[in-house]
Symmetry: C2
Subunit: 401 residues, 2 copies
């Protein structure tokens, strides 16, 4: 008898018909003789509706009360799903975050799971109940309700799978797996059968919106095997695990991130510690810097160029401008018409010439590269945003076809 954790997002339980569809998937698994824990998010637009209600009353409501409000959403979806499973004649029990033992820290709206006190979960499974758990929520040491923030239900599912040592944690979405590139934009994109945690993390952080990074990190830490699959079609998805069988494919996927700003600090006097001062100030302002490029000019000054996400651009410029007196630079410029295109693959670690092949593909497509960043399993380039879709297709097809 295997133990399977299944997670369904808000669109999968948006109405009665979809709730019944999820109940069928769950009971089909149970019928095989397996134990099943199901983690669900709030129905469709419930969370947005609740946020609108709150905003009308108090646009600056405390995070504690926001968590109290929003956690009602999953309470509704778990009970409705349990009712659908009851109607199909199977034993089932729904559990809120605190009933399922989710203990978190006290960072309301973005809480982190500290531990799962899993006695109740184990007792319900021992009674052969299907257990439906509210994702996204837990309680802190004061017995107050907390929520886990964006993608929190994925994290809830992986945490339960880790805690109960489940055989598999299945994340159901509206796509049938992870692709080598966004299939809506790259016509030759193919579904990946297996991918490593590290590759998935690079793709997740690059904007392949299938799995939340935190849940992949947790899966890697506790060695939980994940499967990303469709709730609408019955076919295998993409397995995410520690090591996958080597294939001829060097590169696992290509991705594009258009939420990028490039900031240039021009004409810096070349003193020791200049870069340290600059990036230390940005770090203190909680700004995540991605690609960094430093160039030396003929007059002995230098330029430092770096990228941040567009929503942090204004804060980053403000932080740099505060350093005007101590750094003695001539100007700050920024550009939001750029995009980051990346290829990811464990295979490239041991294969020379991958970067050269990527640059060749971009050259052939007549696309100019502004900045380059590499890691063991990733190569990223910064290019003009209007050429981004063409660039992804070009580098994807160079490796995947």
């Amino acid at each position: 008898m295997a133990l399977i954790v299944k997670k369904f997002g808000g669109s999968s339980v948006a109405n009665a018909e979809r709730v019944n569809n999820v109940a069928r998937i769950v009971t089909d698994e149970y019928k095989k003789g397996n134990n099943v824990v199901v983690v669900v998010s709030a129905q469709g637009d419930t969370t947005d509706d609740l946020i609108a209600k709150a905003k009308e009353i108090n646009p600056t409501a405390s995070k504690r009360e926001m968590d109290m409000l929003l956690s009602a959403g999953e309470q509704i979806s778990i009970s409705l799903l349990a009712m659908a499973i009851e109607r199909m004649g199977y034993p089932v029990v729904s559990l809120l975050g605190w009933q399922a033992g989710f203990q978190t820290d006290s960072n309301y709206t973005v809480a982190r799971i500290k531990r799962i006190e899993s006695e109740r979960l184990k007792a319900e499974l021992a009674r052969r109940n299907i257990v439906v758990v509210a994702g996204f929520q837990g309680i802190n040491k004061y017995d107050d309700v907390t929520t886990l923030g964006r993608g929190g239900s994925d994290t809830s599912a992986v945490a339960i799978a880790a805690s109960l040592k489940a055989d598999l944690c299945q994340i159901y979405t509206d796509v049938d797996g992870v692709y080598t590139a966004d299939p809506r934009k790259v016509k030759n994109a193919v579904k990946i059968d297996e991918i490593t945690y590290d590759e998935m993390l690079e793709l997740a952080s690059l904007g392949a919106q299938v799995l939340n990074s935190r849940s992949v990190e947790m899966a890697k830490k506790y060695n939980v095997e994940l499967e990303v699959l469709s709730s609408l079609e019955s076919k295998p998805g993409t397995i995410v695990k520690e090591t996958v069988k080597m294939e001829k494919m060097l590169v696992r996927g290509a991705a594009c991130d258009k939420n990028v700003s490039r900031i240039s600090v021009v004409g810096l006097t070349d003193h020791p510690g200049t870069a340290f001062k600059l990036f230390n100030a940005l770090g203190q302002a909680k700004i995540n810097v991605d690609i960094i490029l430093q160039s030396v000019g003929r007059d002995g000054t230098k330029d430092i160029t770096f990228t941040v996400s567009q929503d942090q651009c204004a804060d980053a410029i403000a932080a740099v401008e505060k350093l005007k007196d101590s750094l003695k630079y001539s100007s700050v410029a920024h550009d939001e018409t750029v995009a980051k295109v990346s290829i990811v693959g464990t295979g490239m670690q041991t294969h020379p010439g991958v970067a050269a092949k990527m640059f060749e593909a971009l050259y052939d497509a007549n696309i100019n590269i502004h900045m380059i960043s590499t890691s063991e399993i990733k190569i990223s380039v910064l290019i003009d945003v209007e050429k981004a879709d063409r660039a992804v297709e070009a580098v994807h097809d160079a490796f995947v076809r």
Copy 2:
């Protein structure tokens, strides 16, 4: 410093404007230097909407899952009210039933409160927080969510007031107090300043829908002083307590119950134990019998007539028909075109002639009496339903004017 418990029903928190109105009432009390606990129900139609969602998925859903679903309603209203109070600049915390310590039995959908573990409530009050508590809900010994059934939020408020030994428990409604009769129907009805628990119980059970009987019983048991008042107008309501100052008014109010069926078992052979067998069978079928009348015919047979609520009429007739062989009666008849009109007042215990005055008023109004029932503080008569409103006005004006 006094401790005041205030309860607001679903219509009082139905939208943002009304939530803000409740927040003003609550903070006005707090500003006086008092400690305040607020109990709220789910917003307006939330409960009906959730029931409709459940019915669509499973018309025979388990009561446990119904309670899980419905309790989300108060979770939404407590957090929204807390946000409104925050916005006005006052310290506030919302608590779910389990966080406020409501321990109940396991009769899902109609659970009874066993005790309130009030440490958290006391700690929040000691911090001078306004405490907003979800009415209608608690948890049982398995840590599962339960609800208290109809009028449950009134009971929650009284239970908190009893547990914390509050100075006053105010039940806010859309009327400004308890009236001597339904003011929409009896033009001379007047608001009652003070009424005893026993009088209120008789009026509550007679269909004066202001206060739930269970909450009045609990208030009587723990000697909690209640006030019924309007959430829309700022003026004193009706105080409910153990003893009230004697007034010239013998009768505290007149009420009418149209949810009545009269059942007659005709031509019973007159054996000992006939009445016992009949009402024992009805009791076992969980049927509440109200007024009973027995009459002896000339041929040595007798008739027994009794009243039940209309929703129990079919069950009562079925129970009687099962006894056909052992009771040897000739027929069963029923009539739903009747109503029960009652007057209630502690004063009538010590005043002779009250019943006569009531019957005179009905005689003057040309209304025929089918059955009569009396207790120490109540006299009820069964009459034709189409004369009910006229009868209430006649008896009301005979005593109250």
